[in-house]
């Protein structure tokens, strides 16, 4: 019994260590969106909102992962809207989606509307929701699964003189 207990303790420890191996998941508050924009100013940025409850999110994250690999100069920021979710589990999910290098945040407010209003008053919570922000700060919003062609077009439009 005692051996079993030690074994279980060790397993929990290992689970915790492996889960925290990725970048930390930061709490997303009403100031976070502005902070993300400021930190990535002057470079193309994709801010992708997702949730575990969303049936279309895994497909969108997969498209984003392929795009990020092909275009390492584009910043990718992921924000999970699951307030209260275990950050380790979120990080693990993102790692499985091959987006481990992406900066990660999680909603930290019992009132999601408060956070949405700090981002975009015309976003009603549908997921996935993505904001494509060009190097000059121009923002376009997209509800639904990201499309590889659309991402490529967005990026190449910025390279035009």
């Amino acid at each position: 019994m005692s051996l079993l207990r030690k074994l279980l303790g060790l397993l929990v420890l290992v689970a915790a260590t492996t889960a925290f191996a990725s970048a930390p998941v930061k709490p997303f508050t009403t100031e976070s969106y502005a902070a993300i924009l400021a930190a990535h100013r002057g470079q193309p940025l994709v801010v992708a909102f997702w949730s575990l409850d969303c049936a279309h999110c895994p497909g969108s994250l997969a498209t984003l992962a392929r795009f990020a690999r092909a275009h390492p100069k584009v910043s990718v920021v992921l924000v999970a809207t699951d307030t209260g979710a275990d950050p380790a589990a979120l990080a693990s999910h993102v790692r499985q989606a091959a987006l481990a290098q992406a900066e990660q945040w999680v909603f930290a407010d019992p009132l999601p509307e408060r956070l949405r209003l700090s981002i975009d008053s015309r976003w009603w919570g549908e997921l996935p929701r993505s904001y494509l922000i060009a190097a000059d700060g121009t923002r376009s919003a997209h509800s639904g699964v990201l499309d590889a062609g659309q991402l490529a077009q967005w990026l190449s439009a910025q390279r035009q003189p």
Binding site: A15, D53, G84, A85, E113, R122, R129
Partner: protein
């Protein structure tokens, strides 16, 4: 030691694969579970179901929701109950002549695998003193796919439940080698009981290609089968609303917004049927042409134009509708958010939904809040709103300030 190392390597190999599912389960275990439901019986007593610590609890109020009796536990064994937002427990009191009232409760239980869930049901035949053992209503026996967003309609001893069921989409995608495109969305399944939930007919599919995660709304006319309102996927891409009689499954288009997105709006509509048979419904769309909340009604095949409701810039959301009481009386309610607080907003029509009063705020809350719901089967427009700080509040919209 060797055993220990073996166990560790095995654990590490499987840990990643299990994380998403573990997350799914803990997410629903840790969430607030603020979603409640209330139903009136013929004496005017209100019955409330709420989810807490893996159980459903039923309590009763004889003072229109000011106080509730000590709650009675519904399910003996704890389960991961989904009770927030669109996935809501349901309650009804079935009364038929010569029979003791039967209290029925339906809910969704999350299973281990991500998105996997089951439709659960239990009833009390002793006036809510105790509940019979909980049963799983989806009869496909698949515990690794979704059966959720259960809705319910009750009339006499007749009980109809509808939910979003993944068995059709799962089969089609599996047959296509796992291709998600092989089937658009999910499907609506229905089950009926003629004996107040003592027994059920086999499950049957009502419609293919529903949206995956918006609550359904069932409403019963004075005579005949209930009607179901749900967010459908028209032409493979438009996530607009559909209306169907559950006995025929013939779909009419309830909204023509043209919202073409591959996304989960998590935002279902609501349907009420007046004594004269007029159907009233409310819904949300994010379609670029006219985003926001909308209302319309239908008598026979006369369909009114869609009317915008609520303040788009205050995140107007989760609309509900009530029809009854005085002839042609209709009430709408929804939630808005501004200045750091939720507002419970309403408007009233006294001519069957043709013209409307100004919108007004009935209540507000500064912390987590459930969506508003009308009390099922109440003879008056009783609007229930459960919030973290204030608990369950019931507002009689028939009493104007």
């Amino acid at each position: 030691m060797r055993i220990l190392l073996f166990c560790l390597s095995l654990f590490l190999a499987t840990a990643e694969a299990h994380d998403m599912s573990a997350h799914w389960k803990t997410l629903h275990q840790t969430r607030g579970g603020l979603a409640t439901a209330l139903a009136s019986d013929s004496t005017g007593a209100l019955w409330r179901v709420e989810a807490r610590a893996g159980h459903l609890w039923v309590s009763r109020s004889t003072d229109t929701g000011k106080t509730f009796s000590a709650p009675v536990r519904v399910n003996a064994e704890p389960e991961t109950v989904m009770a927030e937002g669109q996935n809501r427990p349901q309650i009804a009191v079935l009364e038929s002549s010569g029979q003791a009232p039967v209290v029925v409760v339906a809910w969704v239980r999350a299973r281990e695998k991500v998105f996997a869930s089951e439709v659960r049901f239990a009833r009390s035949v002793d006036g809510g003193v105790s509940f019979e053992p909980a049963r799983t209503l989806n009869d496909d026996g698949q515990t690794d796919i979704g059966h959720s967003f259960v809705a319910l309609a009750a009339q006499g001893a007749q009980l109809t439940l509808a939910w979003i069921d993944a068995r059709a989409s799962h089969a089609a995608r599996t047959a296509a080698g796992g291709k998600r495109d092989a089937y658009a969305g999910s499907a609506i399944f229905v089950v009926e009981s003629q004996d107040a939930g003592a027994s059920f007919a086999p499950n049957r599919k009502l419609a293919d290609h529903s949206c995956e995660c918006c609550q359904l709304s069932l409403a019963s006319p004075a005579t005949g089968a209930p009607l179901l309102l749900w967010r459908h996927i028209f032409e493979g891409k438009f996530r607009d609303f559909a209306l169907a009689d559950v006995s025929t499954g013939v779909i009419t288009r309830a909204s023509s917004d043209g919202w073409a997105i591959t996304a989960c709006p998590h935002h279902g509509g609501d349907l009420a049927i007046a004594a004269d048979g007029r159907q009233h419904w409310v819904w949300f769309t994010g379609a670029a042409g006219a985003p926001g909340l909308h209302y319309r009604h239908q008598s026979g095949n006369q369909l009114s134009p869609a009317q915008a409701v609520g303040n788009l810039d205050a995140q107007a959301s989760f609309p509900v509708v009530w029809a009854g009481g005085a002839p042609n009386e209709v009430h709408l309610a929804w939630r808005e958010f501004s200045d750091g607080a939720y507002a419970l907003r309403t408007r009233r029509s006294q001519d069957g939904g043709v013209s409307w009063s100004a919108e007004r705020t009935v209540a507000s809350s500064r912390n987590a809040a459930d969506n508003p719901r009308f009390v099922r089967a109440a003879p008056r427009p009783l609007l229930a709103w459960n919030t973290q700080e204030e608990g369950t509040r019931v507002f009689d919209l028939g009493v104007q300030p």
